[in-house]
Amino acid sequence: MNKELEIKTKEFAKSIRLAQINMFRTLGFGHIGGSLSVTDLIAVLYESIMRYDPNNPKWYNRDRLVVSKGHAGPALYSALALKGFFPLSWLDSLNKGGTNLPSHCDRNKTPGIDMTTGSLGQGASTALGMSMALKKTGQNVFLILGDGECNEGQVWEMALSAVQHKAGNLIGFVDCNHKQLDGKTEDILDMGDIAAKFNVFGWYTQTVNGHNVSQLYEAIRNAEQNACDRPSMIVMETVKGKGVALVEEIEFNHHITLSAEQASQAIEEINKQEN
């Protein structure tokens, strides 16, 4: 990743964080922790990797993204609004009655959302189905899983199946923020070494710092070039609530409240961060 693209991507990540905090301030609560932990990945995908057209969200040749941890919708909505898929003013409508931006991703409501998710594990299989349908036409299908989500058996059904069906255009990520709703993943249902598990299933596996945009970018490019007909899994070490100290510090930060005062403090903190 060249320096210029790196700076641009970091700047975009900052904009996504700010937009999210504004969304949560308007609503007063939300899935803040897990949205912030995938923010740098979302920035990399939309700033420097994916092929898409905001004016034609269903453009056939676009790359697809399935955010299987559907509660990270706010991170994705912020990126899509900033990229012009829909007006920025929509962000104020998160989770309000009649909104196009529900808490969990909905492909029938939000321009730019490729798959409806929310019941954990299911995006894994739908992403595989999309990649099988698109195998001959060359689009990539990106899939974002949570580490808690990997508790679901369906993820591991898909992990077996994607190798069998040679889903080389499927590039997955696991957001290892080490927390799930009830606590630390190791205390609730310890997933152990997730990368080793995917690797032994036959995936082309890499582990990166999920907040280092350059590492993420290089890992995706590496997967595109070297996985061949194997599906790829990029396991990301992340921090739940990343970029906002007052969220990071909360032990159980899956779904939390955010006061106007806290939001202002968060915005000040994000603005101070250096690229």
Partner: protein, 319 residues
């Protein structure tokens, strides 16, 4: 009046030719199975159509999700497994990845109810219709015979949303000729009648026709209706015959809770409440046995229909 005949063609032997001809007609048609191709006559297809006839292994949840993902990219998936494994086992995948996400998946659940026979209670879905009825926009077929099966498989190719087709695999009593035309939400009046209406689906249609023949001999004129789709239900046909005959008996190879009978009862309650009785499984689990044993065990017979007809006619007369 439709005549009952015997049929020697196993439904599972029809499916390979039908799906193959659909492959020819439409490049987007795909067929996924969960390690039951050899039980459904399609074992030879993956070799011939590796990208279109796909054995997903024993992974029903993943299979339904993959089918939903394929639908979002324009494919027209048919998926098959035994009834319980493409209904209760994958209910959330069918509900969210397919129906809620507006992906169109055609789901074939074979061996409905007691037709699971020697596979027993674990494989014997009495609840699948109730489950699918609760999914907004779902279409439900309870297959009567081979001719209907072939027509239904073809006609749902472009159907939107979730389509559930519960079908026997083996030969059934023959009710329909190959030329019969079916439409979603359009019931078939197989026999007209004045005194009572029997609304039956699946193999209970044959039992209903047999019962109606017996009733004729005793001077009771019974209409027999196959709803074709349990959802959407042909309410106007039901109401018309309710008004004409004043009494209804439903007959289904399902739990009476949530199945065809409840569906008909909802139509009557809202439009024209009259005496009605159900023939069906009385809130029990399945068990092993021959079809003939299980029909008697769960009272899914023409004899039971006759009993309920006599009861409902008594109620109509205020006895």
């Amino acid at each position: 009046m439709y005549e009952l005949k015997s049929d020697t063609i196993d439904i599972k032997n029809i499916f390979p030719q039908v799906i193959e001809s659909l492959f020819m007609e439409d490049e987007n048609v795909v067929y996924l199975d969960a390690d039951l191709m050899n039980s459904f006559g399609t074992g030879g297809l993956p070799e011939k159509y590796p990208d279109r006839a796909i054995d997903m292994g024993i992974q029903e949840a993943n299979m339904v999700g993959v089918a939903a993902g394929m639908s979002s990219e324009g494919k027209k998936p048919y998926v098959h497994s035994f009834g319980p494994f493409v209904s209760r086992r994958v209910y959330d995948q069918v509900f969210m990845s397919a129906a809620y996400a507006k992906n169109s998946v055609r789901i074939i659940g074979s061996d409905p109810g007691i037709t699971a026979a020697y596979n027993g209670g674990t494989h014997m879905p009495f609840e699948d219709v109730a489950l699918y009825r609760a999914i907004p926009g779902a279409t439900i077929f309870d297959i009567v015979d081979a001719a209907q099966f072939e027509k239904v498989i073809r006609m749902v190719r472009d159907n939107e949303g979730v389509t559930y087709i519960r079908t026997p695999r083996k030969a059934t009593r023959k009710v329909y000729e190959p030329a019969e035309i079916f439409n979603i939400g359009e019931a078939k009046v197989l026999k007209d009648g004045n005194d009572v209406t029997i609304i039956a689906s699946g193999f209970m249609v044959a039992e209903a026709l047999t019962a109606a023949g017996e009733l004729d001999k005793t001077g009771i004129s019974a209409a027999v209706i196959d709803p074709v789709t349990i959802k959407p239900i042909d309410a106007s046909c039901i109401v018309k015959h309710a008004k004409k005959t004043g009494a209804i008996v439903t007959a289904e190879n399902c739990n009476i809770n949530g199945g065809l009978g409840d569906c008909v009862a909802s139509v009557l309650a809202a439009n024209y409440p009259i005496p009605m009785e159900k023939v069906g499984v009385q809130d029990e689990f399945g068990e092993v046995g021959t079809i003939d044993y299980l029909k008697e065990r769960f009272k899914l017979t023409s004899g039971q229909i006759l009993k309920q007809v006599n009861k409902v006619i008594g109620r109509k007369a205020g006895i």
